[in-house]
Amino acid sequence: MTKLDLLRFPLIKTLLRSRWPQFLVRLLALAGFVLAVLAGLLGTPVGSRSFAIVFVWILCWALLMLAAVPLFGRGWCSVCPIPMPGEWAQQGALLGPLQTMTARWRLGRPWPRRLRGIWMQNAAFVLVALFSARVLTTPLVSALVLGAFLLVALVTSLIFERRAFCRYLCPVGGFIGLYSQLAPLELRVRNTAVCASHREKTCYNGSLEGPYAGYGCPWGAFPGGLVRNTSCGLCMECLRTCPHDNIALNLRLPGADLEQRRGRGLDEAYKGLIMLGSALAYSAVMLGPWGALKAAAFAVGSLPWLGYALGFLTLVLGVLPGLFLLAAAAGQRLAGRPLDRRSLKQAFAQNAVALVPLGLAAWAAFSLAFAASSLTYIPVALSDPFGWGWDLFGGAGVGWTPLMSGAVPPLQVIVLAGGILWAARSAVDVQGGRAALPVIGFCLLAGAGLLWLLVG
């Protein structure tokens, strides 16, 4: 399979090797993030007028799901501002090279072995999703959640080594990692033998001196062992610390990671199911005509909300995993494979590859409707971020108008059909032949549900 190493282009390599361009983008993002928190705390309580809601949940969300993740995978994580304060406290520097390997403000403990994987990220996403009708519409609540992200990331950096928050806790990072497998971009090494014979492993351990001084991989990944995008945050630190010019940033066929069987566990399978279930639930709550459902999702702590929360948890943790397990078991039976606990577990985890393209298509289709109807809030919130009557850029008077309202439903159909096609291919690739049919049936069922919710 042909790949194009973008680091062969001197301009790209120079831009990525220098810490400055990335730092400036992150600094700008941090300014936006802090402004969002302040706008939520001090500004208007009207969500559609608040920078806290419009910047994070409309502008960033649309960019993330419709462009950043499908095209750049974890590229979003490489410019995310949330870990910046923690990194600075942990390393004593942001622009390096490192001043000391033993910064004073950190404990530098390894992340507990039993908490590895993305179970904690799954739990964090479900927790935020339960309150999402409130978080996405109430600036104060949104600011508190964003502030909590920043605080937890900071505390985690002080206690644990590297970017433990990004790797194991961030609810957004969890699904970005899952869907980054579809991106046409990957960071790998040019020659694994070079890494194997490199004793210092500066890409992983960091380096204090010389032209290759820098931090060891903040994500705790060894580039020489990367076979999927999930655990690489594209921070480019390995490019800066590799003395052998052995790092490659490849353009590749989208979804190449789906062919990899290694490292697929139940946590990732559950992530796929939680994301699919959340896309279904969000489509019903936010885009459906059911006022009682919206009111229940919003009234946190009330009896209707408890019913909504129970329904949501049952869907994403019970019904969908149960149906998927049945599909995986039926596939095993059709293939004449054993149905013992271990085989089923493995089939469940491996078949979940099909949920990756389907899930991203589901979120893209949902986000299309969400973004198209809300984009005209952006100039208003940029010009008057606090809702105090400012007009910084002349956009405060822009009226609300949904964009492309006639074009969005056909686009959603095409996106979902593309996701189902890709999911079917992935299922056949994993199971082979007839054995993939039950999982394809599951994907078709979920796709039909989404179609009904989005264009029905």
């Binding site: 559609s48 519409t137 885009l287």
Partner: protein, 157 residues
């Protein structure tokens, strides 16, 4: 001299031919109108009660060609109705009604939303106007089934 096509195995040619057939069927599904019966146009009148953050009734059914009047009554704060696809809008003051009249000349399912900031869930205050049979949904379901078939076919060994 061998033409490029001659070097392709018969299995791969069959697979490719199958995908081409599926692609043609998919295009036909998208492009061709469905032969569905339609009722003669009629005058349809709806009275919608709008309160934070729902319409009652939330789903309206009409036939294509019907002359539709939607009367909206805001019950608590200022609400309104913006009809996707038709790009029509009306707003109503609290306790008062306002009306929107149009001919439903496009079939399908169209969302209508409150165009006036009316509270925290305002962006999600949504109802639906269903004009005739929802051909896009049926075409979408057919396309999804074809997509699944194409996915299976493309990796047929």
């Amino acid at each position: 001299m061998n033409l490029p096509l001659q070097s392709v195995s018969p299995e791969r040619r069959r697979k490719f031919a199958g995908l081409v057939v599926l692609a043609i069927v998919a295009l036909a599904v998208l492009a061709l109108p469905l032969p569905l019966p339609s009722a003669p146009p009629a005058d349809r009148h709806f009275h919608l009660q709008a309160s934070s953050f729902a319409y009652q009734p939330a789903v309206l059914h009409v036939n294509r060609g019907d002359r539709v009047t939607i009367e909206i009554e805001a019950q608590d704060v200022v609400h309104g109705l913006y009809l996707d696809g038709y790009d029509l809008q009306v707003t109503a003051e609290p306790g008062r009604t306002a009306a929107l009249s149009f001919t439903a000349d496009r079939s399908g399912s169209f969302r209508f939303r409150c165009p006036v900031t009316c509270g925290p869930l305002h962006p999600f205050m949504i109802g639906q106007l269903k004009v005739g049979p929802n051909t896009l949904l049926w075409k979408g379901l057919a396309l999804a089934a074809l997509a699944a078939l194409a996915g299976v076919w493309s990796l047929r060994r």
